[in-house]
Symmetry: C2
Subunit: 386 residues, 2 copies
């Protein structure tokens, strides 16, 4: 076990992800007039690229904020106090959207699913069936739940909503899921989709993007929640002239501009396949080591995997020791899962060999912390999955 301070960091958290030097270089750029023609052209190309990634012809607007700001934008532009919303809640970010809705006086129904599972469309159908008076105005869901490493079947859930509630709004938090797995905004009839720069786009945090369907724009006209910074009609007015309402984080926009080029070069199908393979590498490795995984195979996230350490090994100890000995940065469990498991992020600019290295270091550390495991089994399974 190396006992010197590690030379390098290996960042394996589910966002911010490592940043390609091409993107860092693009960000290393002087400031320009954010209301001038050069910036307008760049912003327009970023928005075109976002639409391509969203698979949509809907409007997509960009806000200076983190992903949570995008989630708040979705709420305040579509609902009014006293409205009923239904929240598919499979983890911490599902719970966060409920908190946001409630903070604004929305009557948020919590459709809570056991941690580590996706929402079964039948469970959603049953909950919607209770709404005989058709009072529910919006259904919120995560595409990928970062806290548990579980991905919802958004296509099936959206179809379920449309069957009983054809005109209800469907709002999707795709912050950590977009690009990691297929998401078809138009084909699946999703009204509002939220994403962020710091996940599979491989750009530092700083902007959120929010799409609005014609149905969402109609809801905007009836929405009475107070709004100024998040007012998406104001944002759209400025977007139409190639600007943002308030001063944009130019560096992040420059980074997104380069990122859009990179993801167009790679192609959506290849990006999805890469993330799916990352998921399989990690899962097969830790299964071979003998670890329990929080998510079942059927709903396992292509972006992040939550792993219980072997018996007797403390998850937080794994995180601090692996940082000290190997420079590997892992994510903790969130909420009730804190201390019980750790998470490996494998989205964005993460390559197979990054995963092999992380798995090797974790194996070694498990042994050092007293687990009875056979060193090398995880790496072998990973190599066989590449």
């Amino acid at each position: 076990m190396p006992d010197k301070k590690p030379l390098k960091q290996l960042l394996m958290i589910p966002g911010p992800t490592p940043i390609p030097t091409r993107i860092l270089a693009a960000m290393n750029h002087e400031m320009i007039g954010h209301r001038g023609p050069v910036f307008s052209k760049i912003l327009a190309e970023v928005i075109d690229g976002l639409k391509w990634a969203y698979q949509t012809k809907n409007d997509v607007m960009v806000f200076p904020c983190s992903g949570t700001g995008g989630m708040e934008t979705a709420v305040v532009n579509t609902l009014s106090a006293g409205d009923k919303s239904l929240h598919v809640n499979i983890g911490n970010f599902g719970a966060r959207w409920i908190k946001i809705a409630k903070a604004y006086g929305v009557e948020a129904i919590d459709l809570k699913v056991e941690m580590g599972k996706a929402c079964d469309p039948k469970v959603l159908a049953a909950e919607l069936a209770k709404d005989t008076k058709k009072e529910i105005k919006a259904v919120f869901m995560q595409q990928n739940e970062t806290s548990t490493g579980v991905i919802n079947d958004v296509k099936a859930l959206a179809a379920t909503v449309r069957q009983s509630h054809p005109d209800v709004l469907i709002l999707v938090d795709a912050v950590s899921g977009l690009l990691a797995q297929d998401l078809r905004t138009d084909e699946w009839d999703l009204d509002v989709v939220v994403s962020g720069s710091q996940k599979a786009f491989m750009v530092p945090p700083g902007i959120a993007a929010v799409s609005m369907s014609p149905r969402a724009w109609k809801a905007y006209e009836n929405s009475k929640l107070p709004k100024h910074y998040w007012d998406i009609k104001t944002q759209k007015k400025f977007a139409d002239k190639g600007q943002t309402y308030t001063t944009p984080p130019e560096s992040i926009i420059f980074g997104m501009h380069e990122a859009i080029k990179m993801i167009r070069e790679e192609g959506l199908e290849n990006i999805f396949a890469r993330h799916a393979n990352n998921k399989d590498i990690v899962r097969n490795a830790f299964k071979a080591i003998g670890c329990k995984l929080l998510a079942e195979d059927a709903c396992a996230s292509p972006a992040v995997t939550a792993i219980f350490p072997p018996d007797g090994v403390d998850a937080e100890k794994v995180r601090s020791e692996i940082r000290n000995h190997f420079g590997v940065e892992l994510a903790p469990g969130q909420g009730d899962l804190k201390g019980k498991l750790f998470r490996i992020g494998h989205l964005g600019y993460v390559d197979k060999l990054d995963l092999i290295a992380a798995i090797a270091a974790i194996e070694l550390l498990f042994e050092k912390l007293g687990a009875k495991i056979e060193i090398g089994k995880g790496v072998k399974a990973a190599l066989e999955t590449i």
Copy 2:
């Protein structure tokens, strides 16, 4: 007059300002765990530096957003719907704070001052005197009004408020004013002060900082406005453990970290003096050219100057032509002033010779656009002011 595309840009807008290469280099940094010890240390040092710049011992919290987000944070954390607020309104950003307050149902009184003038403390005193029932809960003001290039005497205005309304909240938008001119948060008893990274801190846009006095925290406990993203108590809870509530724009934090070092090296007094000299250079030059300036000397901004072009010269034409011929980026008039004047930003990373160059280019352009001026008079006056 050069007719080839300019080789370089000379950015002379009032934010974002040019970025020193030291800061760009610090931002050109890999992502790290934003809930890990390395980031916590950096964030703590940024917050310490902000407190130094604010001249305060109050809490200062950092949000991922533009300056307007900081203004919204100030409103939603201190007031409730139906509360009365008084707004010193000397331009577009004064008007914006009224819009934000009204969006949340606050009864905002508009103390509108003629464009180009600061608010006379006597006018404020007279307005406060009307509030015999002491219903006003908060007084909002800009330190520096970016749209007109006017600086308020915050010290005198705050003292005026305290005389008749000792316990009322004083909220100051110092986004474009902080560091450009002295602002003493504690000595002048200012409850909430808002700033942004992209002004005199010389960092790209992406974060706003908001200070809270004990009086402001007390108001927080009674504030009923809906909030989640902007909830400053949540932000404080995370700040206390060296984190931000939602994912921070790490690149901007890295930039602020280097900026704090630079401004500490230069010292507050030197920074104020540099900006005051910038103001004098620009004003003396354009007076010598024969231009009318929007602001009078007594309330002229150290950060930005609004200039009427000579008779017969179109302000928007100046902006587009100088961009095409010389690469100089000027700011337009805002609101009613659009097309009537242009603005030169001279805050942040702007040196005397940048100003000389911009003045020279503008002189040449004025002549080309038909103004009867003597070329060189502006530059001469500028050189004599250095």
